[in-house]
């Protein structure tokens, strides 16, 4: 009833929705759909043959494994940074707060060459690690560092508003009942942060799985060893192996859509919880 009334009062519904749907369909949905149409043209057998190679399997393990590890590391350090920014007053806090978004603002290729030069055996940090036999650049550890770099803002920015809205009264109650500060954090604060922490970690993981620019320079790109999935797609394209690239891309799309659904679900749950 109200919907109909509103529709009559404000103009431009048909135009704006029509344009939105047409543009979305043309620029996003149709091209994405085509990937699946092309992939289904391979048939199950062709699809299986394109994906069931040692090289693809190694790239999958490397990409998903390191992305998961990066997401978890971001969960730990993101919680630390969000806590410090939300709870403590100290000189430079605002500056630090603004700088957290740097990985969003820096082009990925710039981050890529900067991290590579930094961790290369003759770089500022790489040369410090070299005497201990630690190899970062052109090894999986380098990929991990790049993935932690680009994923950090996701966790901090998801946790920060939740931390700022937490009721201090609950912590006071816990303290007045004799709980230590650490116990209060464990039993009262942390449980309320868990949904946001999982959401942020999942966001960081999802970004890491598809990341290309910041990783490709530092990775070393050895097939089977330090070759990530997005790079493998590009390699297949350059070899005119379109079926292989399409099969890989459709698999990655299925994973991204699954993660998107999961993130939507988690965010809705966090919202309900905070409103309750």
């Amino acid at each position: 009833m109200q919907a109909n009334k509103r529709r009559r009062i404000l103009p431009g519904f048909g135009l704006s929705l029509g344009f939105t749907v047409a543009y979305l369909g043309l620029v996003v949905l149709f091209p994405l759909l085509l990937v699946f149409v092309k992939a289904s043209g391979l048939g199950w057998r062709g699809f299986y043959e394109a994906l069931a190679t040692d090289r693809v399997w190694a790239a999958c393990r490397l990409t998903f494994g390191l992305s998961l590890l990066a997401g978890l590391l971001n969960g730990v350090f993101g919680l630390l940074i969000a806590w410090v920014l939300a709870r403590y007053q100290f000189p430079g806090r605002r500056f630090l707060d603004a700088s957290v978004d740097l990985p969003f603002a820096m082009p990925t290729a710039v981050a890529g060459i900067a991290l590579t030069t930094l961790y290369a055996p003759n770089g500022w940090i790489g040369s410090l690690l070299k005497p201990y036999g630690i190899k970062v650049a052109f090894a999986p550890a380098g990929i991990l560092i790049a993935l932690v770099f680009i994923g950090l803002p996701f966790v901090v920015r998801t946790l920060q508003p939740v931390l700022e809205d937490l009721e201090v009264a609950q912590e006071e109650a816990a303290a007045s009942l004799g709980a230590s500060r650490w116990k209060t954090f464990q039993r009262v604060v942390l449980p309320q942060l868990v949904p946001a922490l999982i959401t942020g970690t999942t966001l960081a993981f999802a970004r890491a799985v598809g990341e290309y620019g910041s990783v490709v320079f530092i990775a070393g790109n050895m097939p089977g060893k330090t070759e990530i999935l997005p790079l493998l797609i590009i390699t297949k394209l350059e070899q005119y192996d379109y079926p292989g690239a399409t099969a890989l891309a459709s698999m990655m799309l299925v994973v991204s859509f699954g993660l998107l659904l999961l993130i939507n679900y988690l965010q809705r749950k966090t919202l309900v919880r905070n409103q309750a």
């Binding site: 509103r6 529709r7 009062i9 404000l10 103009p11 519904f13 135009l15 704006s16 929705l17 344009f19 939105t20 749907v21 996003v28 949905l29 091209p31 994405l32 085509l34 092309k38 350090f77 630390l80 940074i81 806590w83 410090v84 630090l96 603004a98 700088s99 978004d101 740097l102 969003f104 820096m106 082009p107 990925t108 290729a109 710039v110 981050a111 060459i113 900067a114 030069t117 940090i125 770099f149 950090l152 201090v168 912590e171 006071e172 598809g210 290309y212 620019g213 320079f217 999935l229 997005p230 797609i233 590009i234 394209l237 379109y242 690239a245 399409t246 891309a249 991204s256 993660l259 998107l260």
Partner: protein
């Protein structure tokens, strides 16, 4: 936030420890790499730097980067306004599905975002034969790079405007209409002033990504020097040629763009907070 009482205040040593941990992590992961970009850019002196950023291929890369952004950012800004008008001002079936679909490009790997255009417009793509017949080059040329950029930066403006317009409601627009304003007048005089900072915010983020995009553009660019290399791609070429000083000189321009974006973003966030407190 209320002033923390003693009981919820962490002990001083904990605070110092946690703050040092957070600062140390951010310095190591953000500030050291950023400093390195500028240090490497100027390592061989100001002349090498100036030459690197004024050389013909670098200039044409800058022009192309700006061109691609100038086409794709306005397109997505118009889309963002239309989408937020439809979604925030009206109720209709399938709204939440539409909202999720708008976010879709953020979930897709940049490489896949480029690949879709090859499948669509490449020589062996769906429209490939038709495009070839009519002598239209999309992939490995500027139009393909624009399309890939549009895809990658698609949600930025819309996702800033939709929540804000939803929160603002329709009352002011109703008032304007009841006073005899036309629909277009209402939008221009009432809605637009209310959303201008959020719109600016979305456009800035959209622009930063459009100018800095690497993966998607790399797939559809033909990597033709002086023709289809944007600045991030030019950085890659220089870096792979072991021309580190020039690569970092061009990278420093992109870093400045990133820092400018961050500065403007912080400023607008401050303005938006002020705006909200006033109302």
């Amino acid at each position: 936030m209320s002033a923390p009482s003693r009981s919820t205040q962490d002990p001083a040593w904990t605070r110092v420890l946690l703050i040092s941990g957070a600062v140390g992590f951010l310095v190591l992961f953000l500030f050291v790499p950023l400093t390195l970009v500028f240090a490497e850019a100027f390592r061989k002196g100001i002349k090498v730097y100036a030459d690197a950023v004024t050389e013909a291929n670098a200039l044409s890369a800058i022009v192309l980067t700006v061109t691609v952004a100038l086409i794709s950012v306005p397109l997505n800004a118009v889309f963002g306004i239309a989408a937020s008008w439809a979604i925030a001002k009206f109720s209709f079936k399938g709204k939440s599905l539409l909202l999720s679909l708008i976010d879709l490009p953020f979930a897709v790997s940049p490489v896949v975002s480029g690949l879709v255009w090859i499948l669509l417009c490449g020589t062996r793509g769906l429209f490939g034969p038709w495009l070839q017949e009519h002598n239209i080059q999309i992939v490995f040329a500027v139009p393909g790079m624009v399309l890939a950029t549009v895809f990658v930066t698609f949600p930025f403006v819309a996702r800033e405007l939709i929540p804000l317009m939803q929160a603002q409601g329709n009352d002011q627009e109703y008032a304007a209409l009841s006073l005899g304003a036309s629909g277009w007048q209402t939008f221009r005089r009432v809605t637009l002033p209310n959303i201008k900072w959020a719109l600016f915010y979305g456009i800035i983020l959209c622009n930063a990504r459009a100018m800095g995009e690497f993966g998607a553009v790399s797939v559809v660019s033909g990597h033709i020097r002086g023709e289809t290399n944007t600045l991030p791609l030019h950085v890659e070429v220089l870096y792979n040629e072991y021309n580190s000083a020039a690569a970092f000189a061009c990278a420093s321009i992109l870093s400045l763009l990133g820092l400018l974006t961050l500065g403007l973003k912080t400023f607008i966030e401050w303005r938006l907070r002020l705006h909200r407190q006033k109302h």
